[in-house]
Structures are given as C-alpha cells and as structure tokens.
C-alpha cells in the first residue's frame, strides 16, 4: 500500500516537472531560425532519375547549368555562354564561354568540356527522360560540327541556317556536365552528377529525397540556403498534410499542389503562394478523322461555346489563364489569346453541321488529370456545354497508356489533356500539329489539313531572319484560332506554395529560384 502511494507521488512529481518544462519552453521568445538549418521541400516525382537519364537531375535543383538560360523577360539569356554571335547566313554560331568556372569535381569548364558534352549529345540521342527527351537532331537540326576555336570559344556549324538556335538550346537543350562524370562511349553517368551550379548534389535515396549543399566555390552569387532536401512525395494530399505538419516548407515541380488544395492551404495564415505562367497548356484534342468532329466548323463551334473563364475561376480557383491561342503564352513568339465566347454563333454552326440532329461522342479523360488537376469536374462542365451543341458526350476516365491506345485506334472523339512547350522555339509544335504530315497530327488522329498552314510551314524551313520567322508564327497562330488543330482552354500556372518561414520562394516557368530561397530572418 505504502509502495503504491510512493509510486503515485513520483508520477505526480514527474508530471509537474514535465508541465514546468513545457511551459518554460513555451515562454521562450521566438528565435529566428538558424540560417544554415536544412530546408526540406517536396516534389511529386523523384527529381534525380540517375545515371541513365540524359540530365541525371532536374534543372530546377540547380546542380547543373545550361549554356543558354531563360531571362526574366522570357528571352534566351547568357548562362555558361557569356555572349554569342552568328554569321550572316545563321550557319555559324560562336559562343564565348564564362571564364573561371569549375565543375563540382574540380574539372575546369572550358571549350574542350563543351565539345565533349556535344559529343555526348550525339551518343545519347535520342534518349528518353521524364523531363525532356533529348535528341540532338531535334534541338540542333543539321548540326555539322561543334569545335573549340579557343580555350573559351566554341563554334557550332550547321548545314542549314538556324536563326532561332538560341531559343532551341535554352535550359535542357544545352546542359553542361563535367566530362569526368560520364562515359564518352555510352553517354551514361559513371559518377554522381557534377555540374557548375550553385548547389552540389551530396546525397540521393531513390524515390525518397535528393540532398543539396551550397557550392561554396560558385562563380556567381552563392546560394542562400546551406542545405536543401527535396523529398519525393507522390500523393498531393500527403504533400498538403506534410506542409500543414511542418515537415516540409514548400513544394515545387509540375503538379506541386492542386488548385483546390492550394486554396484550402491558404486559409491558414502560415502559408503563401507565388505564381508564374508555366509552359503547359490544356487542350481538347478532337478526333478529326471521323464524324462528327472531322468537320472543322464543329471544332470551332466547341471553341466558341466553352466558357473558359468559368472553368478557370470555379475549378482552377483562378490558378490558370484562359486562352484560345494555340501556343503557350510563355513562348516569346506567342500571341495573346483572348477567348471570344459566342454561344449563339456556336449553336448555329453546330446546328448547320449536325443538321438539327444530335450525335453521341466519347470524351476521354486521363487519370493523371484527375490526380493533378480538377479534370473530372471540368469534363462534366464541358459535357453540359457540348449537350447544348447537340453533342451527347460520354465521359470515360482512363489511365494515360489506355488513352494512347484508344487514340492510336481512333476509339475516341475528344480527349482532355495537356501539351507542354518543348523550348522557347515553337517551330516543332507547329510542325507537329499543323503540318498535314506532322507527327502529332497523324499519331493523335487530328486529321488537320490546312493548305495555308502547310505553305507557311514549308517557308519556315528556309526562313533565315528572326523577324521573318516571327511573322510566320503570327500567321500560323491566326490560322489556328480560326481553324484549330486542337482547342486550347487555358495556360497552366506554376504554383509555388510555401510556408512563410521561408523567403524569396519565387517560381520560374518551371520550378523555383532555389538559390534565392532561405529562412526568413
């Protein structure tokens, strides 16, 4: 009995001691966080695919850098190439490299290293990647040779004029790695990636995290954070909970957080979001090889009918930009696409095409769009609008692979999906979608045939001046608004959602400016 009492007393004392500790801890004034404390962020996918990937890590981790980057104005900007010039016929391009730069493994960055990287480009092409497929024949078409003409001068020589080379080689198009970290024969990485960026990769656990450390010998402004851990959390709801629980301080990469979860999170004063137009556009892809959507007038009627403003406001919570322009607004060659909705005209056109009858159509929705965007709600909204045009759409949700199969076999009428800009140069997108023999036109069964577009695209092959090409791009965009190869709905926004304990969490076209991110002091 006595022993029991002693035990109870001891437990009470312990509890009091614990409470005292708790309150003494709570009474401490809030201390500013240690600026060198590790920052933990999260992305939906593993941003370090590893040795077989053309880039090893994503550009947004800032471990490697390209020769040509993208400036704040969306134009090509100097990075590892300090400046450049070209011959009058745009067949010879000379790049002056930034001097005094070394790769993370100590190898000097110079013209020889650039040439070795171009040799690797040839070896690996084409190499698939979850970031960007790398194919030297698409990024540097008709490249005859890359040669060092000085210690810090490289010359690229083409068989045909390439006036928009700089737009093509931005970011992933001209990634530079230490020649010591890849096998020249296979192009595979043989060690961990060694780039020139403000962060070094010091650890990676497959599908778990990538650990970055500030490059103290960086040639430019050093990164603010000492270490950043980028975790891989595939499910959006878990990323949301991890933010709320304080396990992660921000999210980045494609599909960082859905618009609905972002709005929900912002109800909590601890969080903020910064946005920037991304290079992804959402479209309705129509089957132009079978009735009724093989009639371009009906496709135009759909474009006139869809209320993009409502879609963006209600389902994307305002985190998208309505557009009817074929090319994403992030491209410097894009025209402003102001969707002109005209339901009366849309119905009239549809009536004349369908001859006052109705038609049953299959409307495919990819599962990835439901995981990442509010595609189910959007599809249901569009389904109601299509009904007003006399199109009875049956919505079918499928995984992307099954949709590709349905697309290849023509078992669909409309697909809701996305298309990203390969780089700032939109030529390949025009060629793929608007040319009669374009790969997307054929593979996706768009059935697009526009003689004027074919003529302009043939002219594009020989157009040498940037202005000349710009005019062609303008004409093609005007054609696409009247006779759309696919129906643009809205441009996506890159949502950089973060805890306010961080500062300078600013989004880019893709990712955030990682080297500027730090603890708010």
């Amino acid at each position: 009995m006595e022993k029991g009492r002693t035990l109870v007393k001891a437990a009470c004392l312990l509890a009091l001691f614990g409470l005292g500790l708790f309150f003494s801890y709570s009474d401490q004034p809030a201390q500013p966080p240690d600026p060198d404390r590790e920052i933990v962020l999260a992305a939906a996918r593993d941003l370090t695919p590893g040795s077989k990937d053309p880039y090893y890590t994503s550009l947004i981790l800032e471990v490697w850098e390209p020769l040509v980057g993208v400036g704040e104005d969306g134009q090509p900007a100097p990075k590892l190439a300090r400046r450049w010039e070209h011959s009058d016929d745009y067949k010879e391009w000379t790049f002056k490299l930034t001097e005094g730069v070394t790769f993370h493994d100590g190898t000097p960055f110079n013209a020889a290293a650039v040439v070795q990287n171009f040799e690797r480009y040839r070896v690996i092409s084409p190499r698939t990647s979850s970031f960007y497929l790398f194919d030297i024949h698409k990024i540097y078409p008709h490249l005859r040779r890359a040669e060092a003409t000085g210690e810090y001068t490289v010359q690229l020589t083409f068989d045909r004029p390439f006036p928009t080379l700089l737009y093509s080689m931005t970011n992933f198009g001209s990634a530079m790695f230490s020649p010591a970290c890849f096998d020249a024969r296979t192009g595979d990485f043989v060690t961990a990636v060694a780039g020139t960026g403000p962060f070094k990769m010091i650890g990676h656990f497959n599908k778990q995290y990538t650990l970055l450390e500030r490059n103290e010998t960086y040639y430019g402004s050093k990164a603010k954070a000492k270490t950043i851990r980028v975790r891989n959390i595939p499910v959006a709801e878990t990323r949301y909970s991890a933010l709320k629980a304080g396990e992660i301080m921000g999210v980045l990469d494609i599909g960082s957080l859905t618009p609905a979860l972002t709005s929900e999170l912002l109800k909590d004063q601890q969080f903020a979001v910064a946005t920037k137009r991304s290079s992804i556009t959402h479209y309705l892809f129509c089957n132009g090889e079978k009735a009724p959507l093989n009639d371009p007038r009906l496709r135009q009627a759909i474009s006139l009918m869809v209320n993009r403003e409502v879609l963006v406001k209600n389902f994307f919570h305002g985190y998208a930009i309505p557009t009817n322009n074929f090319i994403n607004g992030a491209s410097p060659f894009s025209n402003v696409g102001i969707p002109g909705r005209n339901t009366a005209k849309a119905k009239e056109v549809a009536r004349s095409v369908l001859q006052d009858k109705t038609a049953d159509i299959i409307f495919l929705v990819p599962q990835y769009g439901i995981d990442r965007y509010p595609y189910k709600e959007i599809a249901e909204f569009i389904q109601a609008e299509l009904k007003e045009l006399g199109l009875n759409a049956r919505i079918v949700v499928m995984d992307w692979a099954a949709i590709q199969d349905a697309r290849a076999n023509g078992r669909f009428d409309i697909i809701l999906g996305t298309q990203g800009l390969p780089n700032l140069e939109p030529a390949s997108l025009f060629q793929n979608y608007m040319k009669s023999t374009g790969s997307a036109n054929v593979q996706y069964r768009l059935g697009y045939k526009n003689e004027e577009a074919d003529r302009l695209l043939a002219e594009l092959d020989t157009a040498t001046g940037t202005e000349e090409r710009e005019k062609i791009y303008d004409c093609l965009q005007a054609i696409a608004r009247k006779d759309p190869p696919c129906i643009p709905l809205f441009d996506d926004l890159n949502l950089a959602v973060y805890n306010k304990k961080l500062e300078n969490y600013q989004p880019l076209l893709y990712g955030v400016i990682l080297d500027k991110v730090g603890w708010r002091q």
């Binding site: 077989k52 960007y132 656990f205 599908k207 995290y209 709801e237 878990t238 909970s241 290849a408 593979q443």
Partner: protein
C-alpha cells in the same frame, strides 16, 4: 517413427514438385499480361516527358530496339531464357536491371509487411480469443463492431484519416517517408487494420467451434481452469485456418501494398509496379508478377509445412 519421417519428406517433395508447373504458369501469365495490356510501350516511352510527339519512324525504331517487333512466342522464350539465368531484363523507363530494382525495394516492403503482420497477430489473435471467451457479452459486441469497421474501411481512406489525425493535427508521427521506425507506424497500422478485423472474426469463429468438441468437454470435466483449456487445448486446434489467412496475407501484402506505399511515400515494390503499370514497363510488370507469384508459392509451401507441425494427421497422410 520412420514411417512418419518418410511421410513428411514425401509430403515436402510432393509440394516442391508442384511448384515447377505453377511457376511456369505464372511466368506465362506474367508475360501475357504484359503483351495483351493496351497501349504501346514505345509510344509511351518516347512521349513520357508529356511534350514529345514521336513520329511513326521513331516509334518503329524504338519498338525494334525494345524487341517488341518480334513474334510473341520468341519474345516469351527470350525472356524465359533470361529469367532462367537470373536476369529479369532492363526497365524501359529507368534503364536499370529489374532484379536490382526489385531487390532494392524489397526490404522496404518486407519491413512494412513484417511489422503489419506482427500487429495483425499481436492484436487479432488475442482479441479473437477474448471475443470467443466472452461470447455474446458486451466486450464481444464491441470487438465485433470494431472488427467489422476494420475490415470495411478502405485503406486509402483510413490512410488519409490517420495522416490527418496523427501527423497533421497531433503532430505525433510523420506523414510519410522511409528511414525510421516512426515513419512505418502509420502505414503498418493502415495495412494491418483490414486483416486484423478479419482475423479477429475468424479466430472467434474457429475457437468457438473447437470449444464445442468432446475433448474440451473432457478437459472441463477433469476440472482444468478455463484459461488453460483455451490457451493449451483450444487455441492450437483453432489456429490452422488462421495460419492460412496469415500466410496468404503476407504474400498479399508483398504484392498488394501499392496504394499504401504511394500515399505514405514508401519506395517499396508496390509503388514501383504502380509506376511501371502506368508506363507499360513490361519487363518490370513481368518481373514483379513472377516475383510475387513465387512469393505466394513459397508462402503457401511454408503454410503447408506449418500445418505439419500443427496437425499430426497431415504428417500421417490423413491416416
């Protein structure tokens, strides 16, 4: 004694011999599942960045590179030949050997499965016994309701609920990740919930059945205490169906924890195959089906061997 020993060996050899045709069947099914699933891996691979739109020539070249343009039977035989040499092929997406990736992820799934199996056993069996012992009492009704809830709740919903409660609100446990024991608690509980409920109900039912047997009445008549009757005489005889359930459960967890692994960001086998299915990564899907098929076969064999220990009649071939 000699007869019993030779009977056991005959039983084991018979079971092992049956594994070979089962394994061949699994390998054929694994291969067929890959090739009959819709979509072309070459197209998916060339457009996996969501940007590229490959042309017919590029697709044909990729199909040739992957060996997809050969007749199915040749593809199967080539794959089988590789498998017999311990090579499950190379992943289309990651370009890494499938076996290496499976072995890299196996410890994650085995650890998760092991912890949840332990939870199932430590919670399910005693509670099942408790339910049987207090049949139709208040505790029995409460536990039956709990068991029903455990089996009825979908694991994805339970995962979200657990994360919300223990990670987001109470901040007692991490939401996700792999590397510490605390990160495995929520996924293990989620994974164990359904089977624990089923095990409780099964344990209750089988024990109640055994408690109606004559030898139990004899034990009671001899004046043995109730707890001894249950733990010493009732439970061992009621364990055979439970062992079957646990054996199948462990095999099932190794093969079917994909949703849990995805939600809790665990880099295990389940999340690996989920990605492979999305990308129609045939070598990974085939390797995984073969691997988990073998796991099932091995576990069934182990369960059969445990039967030998639990039920002497099996040792004697039913005599």
């Amino acid at each position: 004694m000699e007869t019993i020993k030779s009977g056991i060996w005959f039983y084991i050899v018979k079971k092992l011999a049956l594994v070979i045709p089962v394994w061949l069947g699994i390998s054929a099914a694994a291969f067929l599942l890959g090739v009959i699933s819709p979509s072309d891996p070459a197209v998916l691979l060339l457009s996996m960045d969501g940007i590229s739109t490959p042309g017919a020539q590029e697709i044909a070249a990729k199909r040739h590179e992957l060996g997809l343009d050969r007749p199915y039977i040749l593809q199967y035989l080539a794959w089988l030949g590789q498998v017999l040499q311990g090579n499950l092929g190379i992943s289309y997406i990651t370009q890494q050997p499938v076996l290496d990736e499976l072995l890299l992820r196996l410890p994650v799934t085995v650890t998760l499965a092991g912890i949840s199996l332990l939870l199932v056993m430590l919670v399910g069996i005693p509670l099942g016994v408790l339910m049987a012992w207090g049949k139709n009492t208040g505790s029995d009704f409460v536990l039956r309701a709990a068991a029903l809830a455990g089996t009825s709740l979908p694991s994805f919903w339970l995962s979200i609920l657990m994360i919300w409660l223990f990670a987001e609100t109470l901040q007692l446990l991490p939401t996700s990740g792999y590397g510490s024991v605390s990160q495995l608690i929520l996924p293990a509980i989620t994974l164990a919930a359904g089977t624990t409920g089923a095990l409780m109900r099964l344990q209750r039912a089988t024990l109640l059945e055994v408690l109606e047997q004559n030898f139990i009445f004899a034990a009671k008549a001899k004046g043995l205490p109730g707890s001894r009757i249950i733990w010493r005489h009732g439970l061992p005889n009621a364990l055979i169906p439970v062992v079957t359930l646990l054996g199948n459960y462990f095999g099932g967890v190794l093969g079917g924890s994909a949703v849990i692994e995805s939600i809790y960001s665990l880099p295990g086998l389940g999340s690996y195959v989920l990605e492979a299915i999305r990308g129609r990564d045939y070598p990974v899907i085939q390797g995984y089906v073969l691997f988990t098929g073998c796991v099932f076969v091995v576990f069934n064999l182990l369960v059969d061997l445990v039967y030998l220990g639990l039920n002497p009649r099996i040792r004697l071939g039913g005599k």
